[in-house]
Assembly symmetry: C2
Homo-oligomer: 166 residues x 2
Amino acid sequence: MTQKHPDRVDESLIALRRILRATELYARDLAQAAGVTPAQLRVLQIVGEKKDPTAKTLANQMGVSQATVTALVDKLVARSLVSRQPSAQDRRQTNITLTTQGEDVLEEAPDALQQRYVRAFADLADWEQAQLVSSLERVAAMLNVDSLDAAPVLATGELRMSKKTY
Amino acid sequence: MTQKHPDRVDESLIALRRILRATELYARDLAQAAGVTPAQLRVLQIVGEKKDPTAKTLANQMGVSQATVTALVDKLVARSLVSRQPSAQDRRQTNITLTTQGEDVLEEAPDALQQRYVRAFADLADWEQAQLVSSLERVAAMLNVDSLDAAPVLATGELRMSKKTY
DNA sequence: CAGTCATACTTCAACATTCAAAGCAAAATA
DNA sequence: TATTTTGCTTTGAATGTTGAAGTATGACTG
């Protein structure tokens, strides 16, 4: 099997970068509209998504150090958007929980992706939706190759390296 | 058209978030390996990609203020990775150019996406590549709806849209 | 059980990013 | 020419980020 469409990898990279850029820029606007910084909004989103995460979980999910999480949570606590709950099972741990005000902020600042994506997605034909899900999950898998998730099902056929090195 | 698969939008959002997260985390590692900060690496990448951009172009592309660009470029100039070239056409403008050392850093820190993506992409079957490109471009279009994106030359061919307008 | 090590979090000091506001110089416009 | 606009820099202030050190708790080992 030889290289048939060398442009395609570039095309998909361009599309991916557009996706990343659009999402990032929009996330900032959303955060500003919600009256918090982007980093603080991300904390709120993770706290809302996971079940009262510990500081450690937050740090892992955001990819920052625990010291950073402490600083961010300090700010959010000072604004009464989250609160710290000492864990009963392990007293070293602290669970971060949303306050009512924090939930309000989250509602006013819906996920950056959802806001833009959901409507258009819902209008697609059935087969188009299915194809999109399949493609996105495949890309996500490709990007996570040697990450800690132990790279699941990527081998859909024979692997053959092309001659190009990037 | 009624709702047939309400889960799919969630599945695609989850996949998109995984893509965003993997990319962001990896970009930081790359920057650190290259000995610059993530923001500085992004400046270098844009300078390498565009043709000696002005500070204004950089600010637009990165979505930050000109003051921020000035600060970032100051740091890169101090480390001799870029240089400022007064524009001949418009003496208000300043073109940012890569130095030889800047090019070296860029080479050592290939694009966050490329590093992980290209190899896996090349191994896909022809029809899978085509489907991926189509899907990614569609998602990018969905996310860019009302964006003031400057990004020109993206036309890679007929994007045959179905009956819907996006 | 005492001692040791590992884990979860915080504090501290230093630096990077970011922006609004003010300032300056050059271009565009009237 | 006078005025406005544009591109960039400077300044001052807030936030984000981290490594290193410190504290408290849990886990393990003999």
